[in-house]
Symmetry: D2
Subunit: 409 residues, 4 copies
């Protein structure tokens, strides 16, 4: 049995991971397995196969998987059940994709007898953490090769030089006017970092955005959607049932048309620095709003508040890469339990960058019109009860103030 | 010394509190003191004086106070330092005004030697709780008269009949096509409840809204604002220094013009029922966004997360009427402490219902471009550190997985 | 069909509930069903039947149920899975029994066609809340009769007078030297309130305690126990398998012998006042310690911390009577999920009032001796990783301090 | 100006740090400054001076500081204000000393113009993190030398060999029957790790313990103490005023005599592994109990609960080494604010390993005997109020159950 290393590389087919593919061979005595995932990033994947073959990867070592359904069903939707936002704003589009890539990479390592994995994330970002926490959690003896933390190609120039020497095709976008944005896309979002975004004083340029028109260019007529929820997940748009990833794709299209889901943020990375990112999450922005809408009539108050109290912690776990941790799973069990009755219909209005809930309805509604009414409720609620309720809620404060008065302080 | 009760009534001059004014005299052997506050609700207050006089209230028993500055400085701004929203959406416009009214009412009771207070909130809502918790906390021996919980005028018809008999002027809006919306306004917001909003399936009617144009009718050109923060509060708009209440008034005007700050919500009342409310909070919506923007570069990550974790609890305390409670004050001490360095500038864009942060800057910034850059950082950050960071963060999960494998489960 | 009310009374057979039994007949046109539960309080129940018959209750309206197993299995043990203590000290012995009594009372109401329930808790305590929240949650239309809040027998003298007139036997303990302690007992604990405990400056009298010897009188020899846990619950003592309630009874006996589980506390009631209580919880005190012991080697750190963070909230829910609430159930789902691997053995030492964990072991242990050792671990842990771990954990603080230095403040 | 490094070493005078002192000179071109702190560990410090001189350290480079008062006043007491325990049991005796050592080490670096610091903590433990987070937070450009993470003396044998070669005196305890316990002591506690404690199945040996007699050997007579609190800190024992560190020393003596404060624990380290430690914290154990006692009558319920909810997070921050972080400081501000009225007297009983609160009293008491009494309270509390209180607390559950019944599920 050979000691040769076998490495599963998360391979996009782009410049950076192509350089890594070459670099692995140059620096390690290893056999490389490439893994390319379709998470809805909107790029052709077959070119990645051709490139891998051109690098001498054996056909049986090339994995190209369509993970879109699993991604939305088992990662995106569970996350939205918690109304998850990081630092009040960010919908975690990148964070939520990493655990699935890590999981599939380890599965492929197990299938192919590989003992190492590699990825193209830098040593400054969150993604290295998200990938590697996944690797280690799912296969504790795995060897991780993170080229960006090892090599000396630590500037755009050196990387391009290396690519050139290796005969790797370099797109026009990588040449000329400085580095491109660092972008990441999947069915949930597309993100932008770097370039002039590195100064938080600079407004993002209009032509940076890809998935959404500017609100200014969006249609002058609002559009209404009827969304059907079952147990916390959207299952139908305007009465048409779809699979989870089809739902999200459709909402992205609709949201993008109406300029919905742009975000410009300075966020706190797990590795300890602040960074500035711009995000387009059209479908996710609609889901978040609509999900709060359906919960508003189907969830008990204290359950809703419990979820709100736990949400920032759950969001940080996902942001920091702890999807596969036991504490994330424990929180998920609670969250999923709360969604049993979160079914019904929400009507939202899309217009020039905004999504608004305008109506909600559910067979499980806890909204009791008889009790809530300003009109005579026929005795359903006894207003006199409120006096005692207030008296006892005030009691500890009255006792304290009485004590203060008594001791004259 | 007489046993006659002396009651300070929170008196708006409107129909309901005029009926209460009359009813108090009819049902209690008491002298009434009226208290009318200007919280920026946008109504003339002098008519309230005339009406009170007409009811026979002694001139020295009529209090009309302009509380706008105190309201924004000591209540609204402190609340926004915590990025406070209730149930993910509501900016607490009504909730935050009640503690100030209660405080002033007790001050007036102390000034005038009154031993009772009264208000016009119903027995089903949150406001009765907010008023009375304030009363009891500040003066534990106070007697509270809440006519809506006592009388039998529990329908609009009976109330109007009583008013008619008492010679109280009834506006057209109270007659004819059913009850009007139940509205409440102050410098922070205007709220709407009741009527056809009582069914959460019904979309709010366009002509209900008062402070904001519809996004559809807002200008086709965006407007940019430069907002200056000092210790968490906005002190200047476009470089012009203003008092807190002037800031909020100006932002209301600007936000309203651009259709910003509408909200349609089903919320959970403290008394145990769900209710549907619509709100316009144009200035507050801008403040919230901008405040998160300035915090994003001036606040430490863990301090920001601590605030996010505590925020829902703080919001519930305010919503439920516990402003004067010791636990709200303890949280405020923490929140205010965190704002020491939250100073700087935020640029926001207002456009057709949306407010977007596009740039932020601060002398206290914690954003370190040298470290965050994708380019060579000259050694400011050692990427190799990340390997150890990840390894130790993964350790407990690796040990657990190894243990699982070892016991073959 | 008759309009006559049918009331299920929680009937202990003691003086107070016997007075209530009589009073119900005197004050309501009602048929009474008595319900007496064996929760391990250590009293004969058959006398309650005889007394009920003597009051004219029909035999088919007398319910005497042994609920000991259900009590410990479905209430006590689930609570201990969370290491539950209220206000840092109290093991919730009374609180945890009330939901079961309420549930059974409603079941009996449903069985007998009753439309009302009644209990003997006063209007100042927590128990009224715990009973009634259970009633309302399980049967929202139930009518609740709480005699202590209605009648005028609001002093010990009046109550005794009423009993005398009604021919109710009065024990010696109720006569003579003032009121007895207010006591409550079940398999988990016995509690004492009232009398000279009402002043928190007074030390409890030695002869008050019932279940435990004083530590001073406990054996001079320690006793060791081996406790087996399965999924968070104790299933064996010294290798002998027992049912949940037998486990608790045995631990009470052992703990009592060694003077374990006394508590003297000033606690905060849900109704808003402080009260002083003394408690004996010998078995529960052992369970709590031992459970933390088994968790210490079988639970992931972050899961343990999540549980610790949520525990005070969970404890308050139980203390305040919200056992049947959806938020308690949601927390329970999380807690129970975490216990899947909490199995193994704990050795405890009982000695003169203290219980100490001295050893723990589990097939599921996460304690990895190879890694934890101070000796050479053969490379299982790379100490150099710690440098990077610390560097990145410190990064945000270094950036902040650098920024502070740079701006010279 | 020379490039020679100048290193401040935390130097105990013991074997390990003496080896480090030698090793630093052998491996770095540096000048060493030694810093030895008296934190009440109960060892003579002057021998450390002699040893340092013998190693050739210049007299002006030898710092021996008595930090006992500062330690207890500014670190231990503030921590106890929060009733801080880590993982339900551990009183953080080691954790709380590290930040002070780090602070003083940096002060000395600044005084002496040093640019590096060094410590004797291993690469597996928490102390390295606690030291270094302190260093970096207080002086971000400091160079840290952690010999245990660098050198190859990674076994007891190699270390002894190196010491022997260097002519460092080796105590008998380091020879013969295997490694000694790894111990750490200061005024708050003494800790034990290693040796046969490394297997959590092994009971600690009786002769390991140093500060406390076994409960079995403790006096047969209990001892009572009267403790005076001011703003959350103990200021007097039995009426005798003392400085903070004198208070703690006295309580250690008293507690030790009565066998109080032993703990045997498996805990979760920040670096990701579980470890087993034994601790003696006699004085701290008394303070914790007594502090909860005085808070029980002087703290508002919701403030107490807020503190309980935040405590585990605060404890983790200290355990993990984040004393100097902004989030710990923010929590401290809240905690200290709550202690304003936590003054009064607590009477505790010490007996054979247990400390029990038997009485408490305060001029600021919130315990209102008039209201709490079981006897007639003369109208101070209206029992009828409880009915409304319960009704509204139950409302959401009643509505939910009604809705469930209506839809027949």
């Amino acid at each position: 049995m050979s000691d040769k290393m076998k490495v599963v590389l998360a391979y996009s087919g782009g410049l950076d991971t192509s350089v890594i593919l070459k670099w692995l061979g140059d620096n390690y005595d290893c056999e490389v397995v490439t893994f390319t995932a379709d998470l809805g990033q909107g790029e052709e994947l077959e070119p990645a196969r051709a490139k891998a073959l051109a690098f001498g990867i054996k056909p049986e070592n090339i994995f190209i998987d369509d993970l879109r359904e699993e991604f939305v069903r088992d990662f995106v939707f569970p996350m939205f059940r918690a109304n998850t936002v990081y630092e009040g704003e960010y919908l975690l589009g990148t964070s939520i994709a990493r655990p699935l890539i890590a999981k599939r990479q380890i599965e492929i390592a197990n299938l192919t007898g590989a003992n190492a994995v590699s990825h193209g994330a830098t040593g400054k970002g969150n993604d290295q953490v998200r990938f590697e926490l996944g690797y280690y959690a799912l296969r504790p003896d795995i060897k991780v090769i993170a080229p960006w933390r090892e090599w000396d190609l630590n500037s755009r120039e050196k990387l391009l030089k290396y690519a050139e020497n290796a005969g790797i095709a370099i797109d026009a976008k990588h040449r000329g006017g400085g580095a491109p944005y660092s972008m990441d896309a999947n069915l949930l979002h597309i993100s932008f970092e770097g370039r002039h975004l590195e100064d938080p004083k600079n407004e993002a340029e209009e032509d940076m955005w890809r998935w959404t028109v500017s609100p200014e260019s969006a249609p002058d007529m609002p559009e209404y959607l009827d969304l059907t929820f079952e147990k916390g997940d959207i299952t139908e748009i305007n009465g048409v049932a779809m699979k989870p990833h089809e739902i999200l794709a459709k909402l992205n299209e609709l949201g993008g048309t109406h300029g919905i889901g742009r975000l410009d943020l300075v966020e706190n990375r797990f590795v300890g620095m602040k960074s500035r990112g711009c995000y387009e999450t059209p479908g996710g922005t609609i889901i978040l709003k609509a999900h709060r809408g359906i919960e508003s009539i189907t969830l008990d108050r204290e359950v809703a508040h419990l979820k709100d109290d736990l949400m920032p912690r759950y969001a940080s776990l996902i942001y920091n890469g702890f999807w596969w941790s036991p504490e994330r799973k424990a929180l998920q069990v609670l969250i999923d339990h709360t969604q049993a009755a979160v079914s019904g219909h929400v009507r939202v209005k899309l217009y020039k960058g905004s999504v608004t809930v305008v109506a909600r309805d559910s067979a499980n509604t806890l909204f009791d019109q008889t009790i809530a009414t300003f009109d005579d409720d026929g005795g359903a609620y006894n207003q006199a009860d409120a006096a005692g309720f207030i008296k006892l809620n005030a009691l500890r404060m009255r006792i304290a103030e009485n004590a203060r008065i008594k001791r004259g302080s």
